[in-house]
């Protein structure tokens, strides 16, 4: 509340500034230059206006529905979803083997030394930085280890590497990391409200991290495991995102609720929850449009999606932040904003089958306490597996 008041107060003074700066910037220079030259200011004939306007936010307080989302049911008993042949379940070590060459070099050279010296610390630091763990988390980890080496707790290079790995595993294991059990701990219905019979998992994140693909994979995994799901195509912004999700729905044999392109995503999720409730489906997986975390109107839109999803008969039991393993230090900023806005419950780290290590999750866990729940190791439907801290840390080096 006080925040809001202050913001309003600030806005007052701000207006003047906002007006003055661009006017001076554009007009001032011209006028001054003109004065100097003693002639009229002339433009430089720029053209091709690039606007800054962002996509229209649908966060306006309009009640959901109206957009009349359509429900697609997979055509008549879909020929049993042809799961692409999955010869072997994805595994960290198998998949990451080929990408592990570089960093193991640093750790290898640390282990190879007879004792711990300056080069040891440099190697460890470089290994962590290269894995995108970040300067802050790296310094904290190494400072602690330096203390323990000094006190004699850690003896040689091998013990140091093991201690570092142990610290990382411990750090990444804190916090409850299992996915919410569907239908568990249902609250008693409030009088006058429908019972909350539908769990909603929201998938959020910036553009291009793999949200839609992740929803598809989770759907495949759950449907395959006997938990029917309904998909909500809440990305109404990106061209053909709905089609993409529909194709995943076909593969996994799930229903999908879609809205019009450019429609209100909240209403799509709302309708999906209604439909799930009427069909007795207990879980809705809601895709959302990618949004950069610094676009306030889009974050507001996401908050609204969450609010609407949490209305009976729905309740939000997971908000999964999808994070691309190639993401660098900006991942922390992303996690902060999304956590703050929609109370993220866990991270899905995608594209870990490449050369990127995804070390930013260490910083995210350390600073925000957000656990990694799932890991994406490839494009196949079966390539999304539970996070395993030990395997992750092994692969980090």
């Amino acid at each position: 509340m006080t925040d809001a008041v202050m913001v309003t107060a600030l806005a007052d003074g701000l207006l003047a500034v906002v007006i003055a700066v661009p006017v001076l910037v554009v007009g001032g220079g011209i006028a001054i230059a003109a004065r100097r030259r003693g002639g009229p200011a002339d433009g430089d004939g720029t053209s091709g206006g690039v606007a800054v306007a962002e996509r229209p936010s649908t966060a306006a307080p309009a009640p959901p529905s109206a957009a009349a989302p359509t429900v697609e049911t997979p055509v008549e008993a879909p020929a049993p979803p042809v799961p692409e042949p999955e010869p072997e379940p994805a595994s960290y070590r198998g998949r990451l083997g080929k990408a592990r060459g570089l960093l193991s070099g640093y750790i290898g050279s640390v282990r190879a030394r007879a004792r711990i010296d300056a080069a040891t610390w440099d190697d460890l630091e470089e290994a962590l930085i290269r894995a995108d763990v970040g300067v802050g988390a790296t310094d904290a980890l190494l400072d602690d280890l330096r203390g323990r080496v000094k006190s004699g707790e850690i003896g040689g290079p091998d013990a140091l590497v093991d201690a570092l790995k142990g610290d990382l595993v411990a750090m990444l294991s804190t916090g409850h990391a299992a996915l919410a059990e569907v239908g568990a701990d249902r609250p008693a219905p409030v009088e006058g409200e429908p019972a909350r019979t539908v769990d909603v998992w929201l998938f959020v994140g910036v553009n291009g991290v793999g949200k839609t693909t992740t929803v598809g994979k989770v759907a495949t995994r759950l449907s395959g495991g006997g938990t029917p799901v309904l998909l909500a195509a809440g990305d109404t912004f990106r061209a053909a995102a709905g089609e993409q999700l529909s194709l995943w729905a076909e593969r996994s044999g799930a229903d999908v609720v879609r809205g019009a392109e450019g429609g209100d995503p909240s209403s799509v999720v709302f309708d999906a929850v209604q439909r799930a409730a009427s069909k007795g489906t207990e879980l809705v997986l809601a895709d959302t449009a990618g949004r950069l975390h610094n676009k306030v109107n889009l974050i507001e839109e996401l908050k609204k999606i969450r609010r609407v999803s949490d209305r009976p008969p729905g309740r939000v039991t997971e908000v999964l932040l999808v994070l691309d393993a190639t993401t660098g230090q900006n991942g922390l900023a992303q996690a902060k904003v999304f956590l703050d806005a929609v109370d993220v419950s866990g991270v899905v780290l995608t594209k870990l089958d490449g050369t990127a290590k995804g070390g930013i999750v260490v910083a995210i866990q350390r600073e925000l306490g957000l656990p990694v729940k799932l890991v994406g190791l490839g494009e196949g439907a079966g390539d999304l597996i539970d996070f395993d801290a030990e395997a992750f840390v092994d692969a980090l080096f």
């Binding site: 906002v18 306030v296 991942g331």
Partner: protein, 511 residues
């Protein structure tokens, strides 16, 4: 979260004031800060090492000038080195003598290839070309559909068929020739650099269409891995340049530096928003500022220049400078500023603006401008020129007329008075004074805003420092090409803007 490098340096270097030169130890301390700043900006660690070595060589024994603070001098060096790496040649598209000019886009999954393809097609169209898109991403579900929709928005036709990527690309090339299209843009599936099969596939695509330009599309948020990705793609495809996407986020974009340094090819284009028009050729000097955390004042300037009516702006500025800025002028400028888009978007381009201020600017977006306009509309011309005649009765009339309250009217009048005061300062101090004033104003309103920081910035933007920074760019570097590939705009106006106090340089990077 990130302090600007300027702030970091000032802390270390204030105590050096008055000394003649920087010692080795001073330089080491400064370099540590630079290193941290670059790593936090996701510059690859090897590139950071090379970079800090170069900076060290220039800093050791540096003669400290009297006019610049030591911090500013080091920043200047850092900036020059950054621009030197990022800049160099800017890609000038040379169209094939036998059309079509073929452009191939490659990159990791989710880097933004499909969107960049459509934006690039639109850019070519704006250059007066007649492009065609080929959707060769048959991997991701509905990728071709996405390209078709975006192509439709860009007014560019899209070719694809359900065969295999190499065949699609080949057929697309034939189709472009048949239809007489002069630019062909091939969108491909995202692939990991270590996926041997897919890397082979894209090699075959390249072999089939013989691209004139092969661009790697890379996400500005990419971390340390940017280098290995870029190296692998460069090795496979021999890249001609890079397209940097998602620059509208708040990532510092150090990946740009890493890739440029390692691949040695220019960053050709940058994508700065979700709209098809949010795409332009890359400006190395601005990217340097961004990596250092100094905001993007120049983009703001350019944006302003593109959207605002020059005559109106000139009139308004003249009024400000001559100290006769009226509510009528205010209204006119307000309409101008509205054309530039969201105020919060603009504020995000100004360095040193705190989160609170950004939040506040959201509130301004939410209709405050409308209210202000309504109030001024309800005034008589006389009142607009001389608001001092607005007494109680007039106030009530204005409030009623604009659907506001008398306290709203009062608030506006008070604000306007403040603004007039501030603007008198601008007239005297030029841009430097303006930003100084701005800092003061924001300092009052926003507890977290550091007026000092603003003043520093003012000093940098307004007077000799930034001019000095700009002067460091390589001579052959591009001006700030805008919109439709107009001539670099430095020269013309730059002549008027000599350095010095009160110079009011607004195109500081002219060369």
């Amino acid at each position: 979260m990130f302090e600007s490098l300027t702030d970091r340096f000032e802390g270390i270097l204030t105590r050096l004031r008055g000394r003649g030169r920087l010692s080795d130890a001073d330089v080491d301390e400064v370099l540590r800060e630079i290193r941290t700043a670059l790593l936090e900006a996701d510059v690859e660690i090897g590139v950071v090492r090379t970079f800090t070595t170069a900076v060290r060589d220039r800093c050791v024994g540096l003669e400290l000038s009297q006019s610049l603070s030591p911090g500013q001098q080091v920043i200047k060096i850092v900036n020059e080195e950054l621009v030197a790496i990022l800049g160099g040649e800017t890609l000038q598209i040379r169209y094939a003598s036998r059309p079509p000019t073929v452009v191939l886009l490659a990159g990791l999954q989710g880097s933004g290839k499909t969107t960049a393809s459509a934006k690039l097609a639109r850019w070519f169209k704006q250059q007066g070309r007649n492009p065609m898109l080929v959707g060769a991403d048959l991997q991701r579900p509905a990728a071709v559909e996405q390209l078709r929709v975006l192509g439709g928005q860009a007014g560019v036709s899209v070719f694809s068929e359900a065969s295999d990527p190499v065949a699609v690309a080949t057929a697309g090339l034939e189709e472009a020739k048949r239809l007489g299209r002069d630019v062909l843009i091939v969108d491909t599936a995202g692939r990991l650099s270590i996926d041997a099969d897919l890397m082979d596939e894209i090699r075959h695509i390249a072999g089939a269409v013989q691209p004139d330009y092969t661009f790697l599309v890379i996400d500005a948020m990419t971390g340390q891995d940017a280098v290995s990705t870029a190296e692998a793609f460069h090795e496979a495809l021999s890249l001609d340049g890079v397209i940097l996407t998602k620059l509208d986020g708040d990532a510092r974009g150090g990946a740009a530096l890493s890739v440029k340094e390692v691949v040695g090819r220019p960053i050709a284009f940058a994508s700065t928003g979700e709209k098809l028009d949010d795409f332009d050729q890359f400006h190395p000097d601005r990217m340097a500022d961004r990596i250092l955390g100094m905001g993007d004042v120049l983009s703001l300037i350019e944006q302003a220049e593109r959207t605002m009516d020059k005559d109106v702006a000139t009139k308004g500025a003249a009024a400000i400078i001559e100290g006769r800025f009226t509510l009528e002028d205010f209204l006119e400028q307000l309409q101008q500023v509205e054309k530039m888009g969201s105020i919060s978007g603009m504020m995000s381009l100004i360095p040193g603006i705190s989160k609170d201020i950004k939040k506040a600017s959201e509130a301004v977006d939410d209709g405050q401008i409308g209210q202000v306009k309504a109030i001024i509309y309800s005034m008589t011309p006389q009142e607009r020129t001389d608001p001092s005649i607005i007494d109680g009765g007039r106030r009530v009339r204005i409030a009623n007329g604009s659907g506001t309250t008398t306290s709203d009217v009062n608030a506006l009048l008070k604000q306007f008075k403040e603004m007039q005061k501030m603007m008198k300062g601008f007239g005297k101090g030029g841009m430097g004074g303006a930003l100084g004033g701005l800092g003061g104003l924001l300092g009052r309103g926003g507890p977290k805003m550091s007026p000092k920081g603003m003043a520093d910035m003012a000093a940098m933007v307004g007077d000799s420092d930034l001019a000095a920074l700009g002067a460091g760019a390589p001579a052959g570097a591009p001006g700030l090409p805008s919109g439709g590939g107009a001539a670099p705009r430095g020269g013309k106006k730059g002549k008027g803007g000599k350095k010095g106090k009160g110079g009011g340089r607004v195109t500081p990077k002219s060369r």
